[in-house]
Amino acid sequence: MSAKPSAKPVVSRPLSPFMLGQYYRFQISSLLSITHRITGVGLAIGTLFIAIWVMSAVAGPDAYARFAWFARSPIGLLLLLGWSWALMFHLCNGIRHLVWDAGYAFEKKSVDAGGLIVVAASVVLTVAVWLVAYLVPSA
């Protein structure tokens, strides 16, 4: 067998430094980029728990009651609040990515402005979701 090309790098080439830290000047895009990834992974884990919530309803009243108890506890509420903000942030920043995919808003000014809009919108949407959910009476 011949040596497999590119299986192992012959020389260890330097990697470019991580986008946040001492090597680059701070910019909102790099912060939001890593936040997008962190919220993405967090949401994958969070959605797992919410899927369990739906499955607990199938398992019967007792299983559901145990989940509901946790969802109403301070830790459960905090996790839900964090999950909803992460979802709203990933949603808003995802739309920002879709705008870039369509070929718009690549100017430095619009990239920075878009980042600030995303942060503001994620907070506003999170508050709005919880306000509407609690204030609007059920039919």
Binding site: G40, A44, W53, V54, A57, V58, L80, L98, V129, V132
Partner: protein, 126 residues
């Protein structure tokens, strides 16, 4: 010296030619998830305190059941694509990279199947 031709050595090492499909499905599920996530976040905020009967009644609504099925399929698919890229970027060891991607994908698709089954069981049940 190898008797294999340069072409045979190069085959299989390059692009698997499904990068565009990955990219496209990530965008497609993202667009689907814009309305679905807003609705789902609102529903969770509203129903996380609901008692058992309210919850079952909610799941009996056909619109809710269909929207939940769509949300679970789109979000677990989107998560599988996204987590794959994160693993590819940060896990250097080849065998660890491949095995964790396989594990995450199988787990997420199993979860999607289980949650869709759960929604349908309640929706069709008494």
């Amino acid at each position: 010296m190898s008797l294999r031709s340069p072409l045979s050595q190069a085959r299989g090492l390059g692009s698997a030619k499904d990068g565009v499909h990955h990219w496209w499905m990530q965008r497609l599920t993202a667009i689907a998830l814009i309305p679905l996530s807003l609705w789902f976040a609102f529903s969770i905020a509203r129903y996380h305190v609901a008692d058992y009967n309210t919850m079952i009644l909610w799941l009996h609504n056909p619109y809710v059941a269909v929207a939940l099925v769509l949300f679970f399929i789109a979000s677990f698919y989107h998560a599988a694509l996204g987590v794959q890229v994160v693993i590819e970027d940060y896990v250097a060891s080849e065998w660890l990279k491949i095995s964790s991607i396989v594990l995450v994908k199988l787990a997420l698709f199993a979860l999607a199947a289980a949650s869709v089954f759960a929604v349908l069981k309640v929706a069709f049940g008494a």
